[in-house]
Symmetry: C2
Subunit: 337 residues, 2 copies
């Protein structure tokens, strides 16, 4: 039996702001013999998330920063190849925080769940994974949409945003997407069912936002922060809700950039702003996945994937997200299903 | 019978930012014969509120701006002198939005309520009026304090802030006041029961805030916005709540001043920020007044009043609030009780 080789994408240096390709390197190490109770998972798809920018930052965040020279933290989906845990069998498809690498030898505590049949396994990283769950609870619990609401979503064509927009539509709200470029505007209205979509890169962005929201904005699902949010805040209605789920438009928070203060808008419009981190709801993921699965099956909830091939694509993949290169959920395929 | 003369403080010009004495003038007009269903109220105390800055501004707010040459909008307490409404009798003490003037001829719709016996009538404008009600609902409903919380209050010695601090203390929280100057720091700890108070004007403000909040900040009742809030946001704990009730430290919102963006803090700490305007809860004022009255009677809730004498004091009274001249609720007494 030949020793398995494990390619790992490691954090070489701590980025200032958005992680670039040269903040990572790829090393190859042997897979060690499996320890007691361990499971060896062969990763098939690696996830790429906007949140990874925060995971590698040493500015205050919701998790410890990835250490220098450690394997990049990432959710993956893969196949069990060896198991010293009777609950897992060779051939099981599992997902968890297994990192940007070919193989992960972990105990059951690191596995989030087994992935059932019935859907492509890649969906476990997107619409039927952390992105879908984020959209589900972020919109429904933190945002509390009403059927009479105008709901505005930033990064509207992205993995989280596109799901938020569709769920808000299922709940009867009028949905308006904010995205970058004419192709994504088209994707928002033709694929993801937004009533309207506006291009924040266009010169007439604010006029287009006005036209798309003739009755103002009741709920803003914010994945960007920054100047896009400034335009939205100007148009919030009384009792509006803002869910802050990401800050993709801000290149660096060290130090925080300046922007117009919003306290007066929040006060006079009685706005509620809620920061949302999906990991707080880990115990309830099953509830979201069950409903999301029904909507995907019925065709009410669509998704797009943007699949890069080969682990060599990983180092630049986060920077590409922030450049807006992707159409849909960005994944890296590193093995055959 | 001589004709009654009515001195009125009118808005002469629209201020940029904080209303100054020269934005008002005092005119004297005759009191007209009372119309059908009208009540003539002789004002005794006129209220002075930080919120008046917003009431005279034509920047977006929660009420229509006071018109130029109109009597300044204000809550007052006074005595019924004539009545064409069988529900009101000469001698009744009433409160309502009766304006900065000696006499108001109004229908019952403008009267908020009759003021019962048992408390000084001036309290109807402060701790047992809009300020106390604001503190009560703003803290308890919008802020949801827990006994384990560290609660920080800005304008801690003011009419709203001092009541917020004491109610938070009654609910078991550790309370920290932010105020301006050593005398008010002393008032906070010695009179209003704050566990600690810090002077935002002092050079060591941030260090003092750290020392006063060794376990971070769980709830921030914000009456100031601006740089004071920036310091507080840096110290918010996970699941912190912020109630925005006022923006007293910001001189002008037209245009909004710049400050450090807070989206990243709100996201990573899962903060909830809620704008609060007490007028939304008009139907529930009685509930708050009943509890506030009990606490005042028992001595658990203290209040301070800062009473100016004579209607001539009105034009400069708002500017004085923003200069921090007052110790406690600012009132203008224009007639004997």
């Amino acid at each position: 039996m030949t020793t398995l080789r494990n390619r790992q994408v490691r954090l070489k240096s701590r980025p200032q702001g958005i992680p670039q390709a040269d903040n990572f390197n790829i090393v190859e190490v042997p897979v060690e013999p499996l320890g007691a109770e361990q499971i060896l998972v062969r990763n098939i798809y690696l996830s790429v998330e906007p949140a990874m920018r925060g995971w590698v930052s040493d500015v205050g965040n919701y998790s410890e920063p990835v250490a220098i020279d450690a394997v990049m933290r990432a959710i993956t989906v893969g196949r069990v190849e060896q198991s010293n845990d009777p609950r897992y069998h060779v051939g099981d498809i599992v997902t968890g925080m297994l990192g940007w690498q070919d193989y992960a030898a972990v105990t059951a505590a690191t596995i989030e769940r087994k992935v059932g049949a019935g859907f492509p396994i890649s969906t476990a990283l997107g619409v039927l994974g952390i992105n879908g769950i984020t959209a589900y609870f972020g919109l429904l619990e933190a945002g509390q949409p009403k059927a009479s609401d105008t709901v505005v979503v930033s990064t509207a064509a992205g993995a989280v945003g596109s799901t938020v927009g569709q769920i808000a539509g299922i709940k009867g709200a009028r949905t308006v997407g904010i995205t970058g470029g004419a192709d994504k505007v088209k994707l928002c209205t033709e694929e993801f069912g937004y009533a309207a979509a506006v291009d924040y890169k266009a010169a007439d962005f604010e006029a287009a936002l006005d036209a798309a929201c003739p009755n103002g904005i009741d709920l803003y699902f914010d994945n960007t922060a920054g100047a896009i949010s400034d335009a939205v805040y100007q148009r919030l209605n009384v009792n509006a809700r803002v869910v802050i789920c990401g800050t993709a438009s801000v290149a660096s928070w060290s130090p925080p950039p300046l922007g117009p203060r919003v306290e007066r808008i929040i006060l006079t419009k009685r706005v509620r702003v809620q920061g949302f981190v999906v990991f707080d709801l880990l115990a309830r993921y099953g509830e979201a996945l069950q409903q999301l699965g029904k909507w995907v099956k019925s065709g009410e909830l669509r998704y797009r994937e943007d699949i890069l091939d080969g682990i060599e694509a990983a180092p630049d993949a986060i920077a590409g997200l922030y450049r807006g290169d992707n159409f849909g959920k960005r994944l890296i395929r590193i093995a055959a299903e």
